[in-house]
């Protein structure tokens, strides 16, 4: 047990510091309270465990920067398309104008929209990575998310890279109307070309992955991974409850539920995610294959596709 653990456990029972001070320090980010079991842990220590609660295993929600830090080898991340910014094409206004909502969210989160994309090394393997960020309007998918993911996949097809997308989204961004819905098709089109090129795509479903994202790129992986106990579904629970007028089954729309029904390949704890992804990428490196033509030239068979996959050194 680390000193921090000991301290955290002591806090649980006797709380050596005043309630007020503890709350202040949680607000400062020094301490983090696990929303599942209530244990207060030293944030630095939690981060060392990838924000997975050491007491109950709960996966505390993390955001794009933290995720990239966890998955990509140090100093190898090259972000893409950071200049792509949202606009207000419909001049949408609900209780607040979309323009103001965008500006306020950008200020609050220092993000420009709900996805970060780029290329980097993952245990030395070059990958195209997209990470959705739930902080930005619930990770909703509008034109910017669609465009950045499409460019990422197109680049991966061109450079023959595997694509990994960390999904976290409430669905389409209503404030961009039909432009949002069409991003589902646009991203799927890019994935079709990536697939046609026989390249590997792995979406990782994190809490929550719902709506339009589930009905497009989240479900189109060659292999689909999920974090434990994430909410994953197409329709919202409230909508289903309204149509059924009855309570939903236990564990409905969780990672475990999807695994049981055959829509997820494996549930991977965050602490194993990087090594699992690296393993899968290594296993799917293109192998020299027997050509299907009748005239086989043996000398031509040996080196098919291996050269492009020479290990890339970190810059």
């Amino acid at each position: 047990m680390s000193l921090f653990d000991w301290f955290a456990n002591r806090k649980k029972s006797t709380s050596p510091i005043s309630q007020e001070r503890q709350e202040r320090e949680i607000a400062d980010g020094l301490w983090t309270k696990c929303e599942a079991c209530g244990v207060v842990a030293y944030t630095k220590d939690l981060r060392a465990n990838q924000m997975v609660c050491r007491d109950c295993g709960h996966h505390i929600r993390i955001y794009s920067n933290e995720r990239i830090r966890q998955l990509i080898d140090n100093n190898t991340w090259m972000p893409m398309d950071e200049g792509v910014r949202p606009t207000d094409p419909l001049q949408f206004r609900d209780r607040k104008s979309y323009r103001d909502r965008l500006r306020d969210t950008q200020e609050k989160t220092s993000l420009v929209d709900a996805v970060n994309t780029g290329v980097g090394l993952l245990e030395g393997e070059r990958v195209a990575l997209g990470v959705m960020d739930f902080r930005f309007m619930g990770g909703s998918m509008g034109s910017v998310v669609g465009e950045k993911l499409t460019r990422l996949i197109e680049r991966a097809t061109l450079e023959r890279l595997p694509v990994i997308i960390i999904c976290a989204s409430g669905g389409a961004r209503m404030q961009e109307g039909m432009l949002s819905l069409m991003q589902m098709a646009k991203i799927s089109a890019a994935l079709e070309r990536h697939r046609e090129a026989k390249l590997l795509y792995i979406p990782v479903l994190t809490h929550p992955t719902t709506g339009g994202v589930t009905a497009s790129f989240a479900m189109l992986g060659d292999i689909i991974l999920a974090e434990p106990k994430a909410t994953i579904g197409f329709a919202g629970k409230r909508v289903i409850e309204q149509t059924l007028r009855e309570k939903l089954p236990e564990g409905f729309q969780t990672s475990e539920y999807l695994l049981q029904h055959g829509f997820v390949d494996a549930i991977v704890p965050r602490t194993n995610l990087k090594s699992t992804l690296a393993q899968l990428i290594r296993l799917h490196r293109p192998q020299p294959t027997q050509p299907t033509t009748h005239h086989v030239s043996l000398s031509g068979v040996i080196n098919v596709g291996t050269e492009r996959y020479a290990p890339v050194s970190p810059e």
Binding site: G177, M178, S188, R195, L220, A235, G236, L248
Partner: protein, 329 residues
């Protein structure tokens, strides 16, 4: 979802049609009174009738998005099977997703239009309350989307163009739908429709509800009837989420930009099909003729391209959709 309770015979009157109906009633009354009393009112009647026609024009050319939704959901609006019957020379419905289900909310089959063999499929709403319950108001299940995909694969194998009709409030939301992978079923279609070699023409004939519509909506051409709507989320849902008030649905309908004209402006729609004054249901045969002509026009255009040209254009058509700005790095 509309509540269909009115009896089959009575005309369904939408509130914005009421002034028109009143005027038409008055004309009828005057005519009856005149006959009873032996008075000649031909001139007055003619005047009133031309006023009624003007009013009809006025009403139907200035519909709000919320009113268009009412028309798009009109219980008498022609459905997928109505159009298929009207435009095809031959038609045979085919059933089943080959994976244990046959969804009546999504129908399809083989047939021919003007002598060309095609595969046609679409969401099917019910023709009455009972039928609507069976067909879930056109809300397709995962099995429905998988049946659609199976039929589209069939079309691709035999080089038959695919014609889809969109008319759904949205994909079916239920425990079973989730269990069977509603998201996966739609996602799969989105990707695979880009792979197909044959021409694909999609037409929104009524309601285009979100992912449930898009699940058979990826094509070389998107056509849409004048009073159809196509929306990312139902205005009712949007209002309750963004306005926290479901009664704000008309405002949401306005803000979401869901009409054919809106979608044309956003670069999503290729061809806006004019409806007879009074809407598609006021003259289904005329509406079907308009649809048939448009389909044949686009089929001819698309048939002149090679498979790879068409697929490239289909990719580019969707690739362009989206509005953002880009700051130089």
């Amino acid at each position: 979802m509309s509540n269909v309770v009115t009896s089959e015979r009575k005309p369904y009157l939408l509130d914005f049609e009421k002034p028109l109906a009143e005027l038409e009633n008055r004309i009828e009354q005057i005519r009856e009174l005149a006959t009873e009393n032996g008075v000649d009112v031909t001139d007055q009647i003619r005047q009133l009738e031309s006023r009624a026609l003007e009013l009809r024009h006025e009403i139907f050319s200035n519909l709000s998005p919320a009113q268009k939704i009412q028309l798009a959901r009109h219980p008498r609006r022609p459905s997928t099977l109505d159009y298929i019957q009207a435009i095809s020379d031959e038609w045979m419905e085919l059933h089943g997703d080959r994976n244990s289900s046959d969804d009546p909310a999504l129908v399809g089959g083989v047939g021919s239009i003007a002598g060309r063999p095609v595969v046609m499929l679409g969401h099917q709403k019910g023709r009455d309350t009972k039928d609507n319950v069976a067909r879930r108001f056109g809300m397709a299940s995962p099995g429905g989307y998988r049946k659609a995909m199976r039929l589209m694969e069939h079309a691709d194998r035999f080089g038959m163009p695919i014609i889809t009709f969109i008319d759904t409030p949205g994909a079916w939301a239920g425990v079973e739908a989730e269990q069977l992978g509603q998201g996966e079923a739609i996602a799969y279609n989105l990707r695979e429709m880009f792979r197909l070699d044959v021409p694909i023409i999609c037409t929104v004939i009524g309601e285009g509800g979100s992912g449930g519509a898009l699940g058979i909506g990826v094509g070389d051409r998107l056509l849409m009837f004048e009073h159809s709507v196509y929306t990312v989320a139902s205005p009712e849902a949007c209002a309750s989420i963004l306005w926290k008030d479901a009664t704000k649905a008309p405002q949401a309908a306005e803000a979401l930009k869901i009409t054919a004209t809106d979608l044309k402006n956003l670069g999503i729609l290729d061809d806006l099909l004019t409806e007879p004054i009074g809407g598609a249901h006021s003259d289904p045969l005329k509406t079907a003729t308009i649809l048939k002509q448009a389909l044949l026009h686009h089929l001819t255009e698309l048939s002149q391209m090679t498979n790879s040209e068409r697929r490239e254009l289909r990719y580019q058509k969707f690739r362009r959709i989206g509005v953002f700005m880009e700051l130089s790095a």
